[in-house]
């Protein structure tokens, strides 16, 4: 083994030092070969020495915190014949690597006909944001049965645009932390796309609820959205676009979206009385649709009186 690599993590990424001298000393003192700026590291913490046969060994020099491998303190010399070796010097985790070791395959920045192109391009970002603005304006228009004035319309409209921009900036922060870049177009495109999808689903699901005379379609969509679609999209965004650590991204997504998923589940549990909890509310299908398209047929008043009434009787509904 001609040389070794020492990997030291820092706040702005990792540093690599090549070891090709017979003796390389690590510590906090400024006359070391590799200086570790960690208050828990001793001034002269450890040394990597080349033996006569050309192999390397790690010797601890520190009395205070010493060297720990897998959490256990090791004061004897450690022969570096099986790499990589991971150890803690104080609170700094150091890896000693073999320069010949394989590295992970290159992550492609696929912007040639790939969907990822959409994110990271200012043109697409502005287009998606415009789509979101139009969709929310349409939704705003539908739900305001009043004469619209510019002032009242924009007051509501600005709120959703501000929310979208705020979310985009939040993602931008994550982007900065994970990939050390400021990539506003990708986060803006992503947020616009997500919010637009949510608005479209909100527009469509009442029709499905009316069609089936049941809140179930709405529930399924809402649950799929908060349990599957949204976590997947956020995870994809963090891992693929921001090259974030997969495990950390999953933890982040779960922590962020758990409250929403909990809320959706609670709604369903409450509606279908899965836990037999009391509710002051009566849950029924209250959707109305301008296109009277539905599966359930229409009863005559006599059929209604004869067939339907006993169904709702508390005695018949008894479990």
């Amino acid at each position: 083994m001609a040389s070794l690599m020492v990997e030291i993590p820092g706040r702005h990424g990792v540093q690599y030092h090549r070891i090709d001298k017979p003796s390389v000393r690590l510590g906090r003192a400024l006359d070391n070969d590799i200086i570790l700026a960690d208050p828990s590291v001793s001034p002269y913490h450890c040394v990597v020495r080349r033996n006569e046969n050309g192999s390397y060994a790690l010797h601890s020099l520190a009395d205070e915190n010493g060297i720990r491998v897998g959490g256990r303190r090791v004061d004897d010399a450690i022969t570096l014949d099986r790499l990589p070796l991971e150890f803690d010097a104080g609170r700094t985790r150091i890896r000693i690597l073999d320069p010949a070791q394989m590295v992970a395959p290159t992550r492609m920045i696929s912007c040639h006909g790939g969907s990822v192109c959409v994110f990271g391009n200012w043109g697409w970002a502005l287009l998606l944001f415009s789509v979101l603005t139009l969709l929310s304006a349409f939704d705003n228009y539908l739900s305001t049965p009043l004469t619209l004035t510019w002032q009242s319309f924009w007051r509501d409209q600005l709120i959703i645009m501000m929310v979208a921009l705020g979310l985009a900036v939040t993602l931008l922060m994550i982007n900065r932390i994970t990939s050390h870049r400021w990539d506003l177009p990708s986060s803006l495109s992503f947020v616009s796309l997500l919010l637009s999808t949510a608005l479209v689903l909100d527009l469509i699901t009442p029709f499905a609820d009316y069609f089936f005379t049941s809140p179930l379609p709405g529930f399924i969509v809402a649950l799929a959205w908060s349990l599957i679609l949204l976590p997947w999209a956020m995870g994809w965004f963090l891992v693929r676009l921001n090259h974030g650590n997969t495990a950390a991204s999953i933890v982040f997504v779960v922590a962020l979206l758990l409250p929403a998923a909990y809320y959706q589940l609670k709604e369903i549990v409450s509606h279908y009385d899965l836990l037999d909890t009391f509710s002051k509310r009566s849950f029924y299908s209250d959707t109305l649709s301008p296109w009277d398209k539905r599966l359930q047929n229409t009863l005559s008043i006599d059929e209604f009186a004869a067939k339907s009434m006993p169904l709702a009787s508390p005695d018949a509904a008894d479990r």
Binding site: L142, S282, D286, L288, T298, F304, A312, P314
Partner: protein, 447 residues
Amino acid sequence: MISTSENASLCRFHERLAGSVKRFIQSTGFPAFSARLLTGLVILLCTTTAPVFALDSQVIFERNEHAVYQIHVVNRETGKKRSIGSGFIFDRPQRLATNYHVVSQFIEKPERYELRFISTDGAEGPLRLVGVDAVHDLALVEADAPFGTPLQVGEPPAKGAALYAMGNPLDLGLTIAAGTNGGVLSQTDDSRILFSGSLNAGMSGGPTFDDQGIVVGINVSTARNDISFIVPTRYLQSLSLANVARAEDFRDAITQQIRDYQRRYLQGMIDGDWPSTNLRKMRIPGAISPTVRCWDASPKPKDEHLYQRFSISCKNENDIYLTDKLEVGKVLYEYLWIESDQLESLRFYRLYQALNNSQFSSKADEDDVERFRCDTQFVDLNGQQFKTTICARSYKLYPGLSDVLFTAAMVGHDRQGFIFNLDLSGTDFTAASRLIVRMLEGFEWLP
């Protein structure tokens, strides 16, 4: 005409009056002879002419103060009163008449509460419940020892006549409140008399006297300043005594009473002729019973509204007190019409759907009621299609009574909507569903 018994009671009273006159004269130092002479004069007046004297409130109070008792619902653990009411000696020397709502906490939780009486001179003792009539808010309780002579009861005087209500408001001491007979209320199924005088908490269960000192009613409730209600004594006389010892059995009896009442009440509506009323393009049943009053409930129109909304809200005043959180006998229905010639159908239906959100308003919680169970059906009513939902929840301690919510929204029109909501509290489900069907049959589209 005054009947013999009434005449006799009047004289008994005059004798008492003569007694107090005598005491007064003696205290002022008049010779005993003149006092006796005056007393004799009064008695003579009574036996010969027997005129209908109107008594004033002071006399009525003095005559009856020892016949009116406070009734306390006392927590068995703390020994302190939880609620108070009044009662008076009725029918038998050891029996008091009062309101059902005065003793209802005891019926609901007999393991936690007990009933006690307190007299004006401070004597107290335990009471046992012997009869209830929840529909008319009456109850009878008995003590082991006699209280005194039962008060005489009779029919209420003519509308406008003076009435005097006795009781113990807010535990401030026994008082008498003067007022007038406001007449029998048709809104309340003839079971309430309007008393234009002040009743306050604690006076419930106390007697209401006419100007002859006869008990004509039982203080029951108040709506606001000087608008109070009393129950005629005839319901007290027809109150059948339940031969039961346990509160659970009283609850069964109460359930049966209310169910019977509701069946009768709703069947009366179903069998009645209803006036029709028009709400834009719908002909609908108006006030379906003399107990129901309808009001316009349309929201105030504004220039910026691109739609027109009208509603009619109808309600009875038959709130029957069952527990502090359950009022039964409520019949509340509303019609809502909405139309627009400016909104596109998609935009119109956003608004229309938002209005289709009827919920049952009640103070009941998980101790009182089960969950609502609902069923949604589309029904054709005289050529118009409606999305209807019926929801019901039964009462936990009073099985057989349920709250029923019904809602129907017209579908199939681009820019016209019509919603019908009906709430029935503490009702018999079968009777309720028959009423709903009868009401739906009355819907008619006016082209």
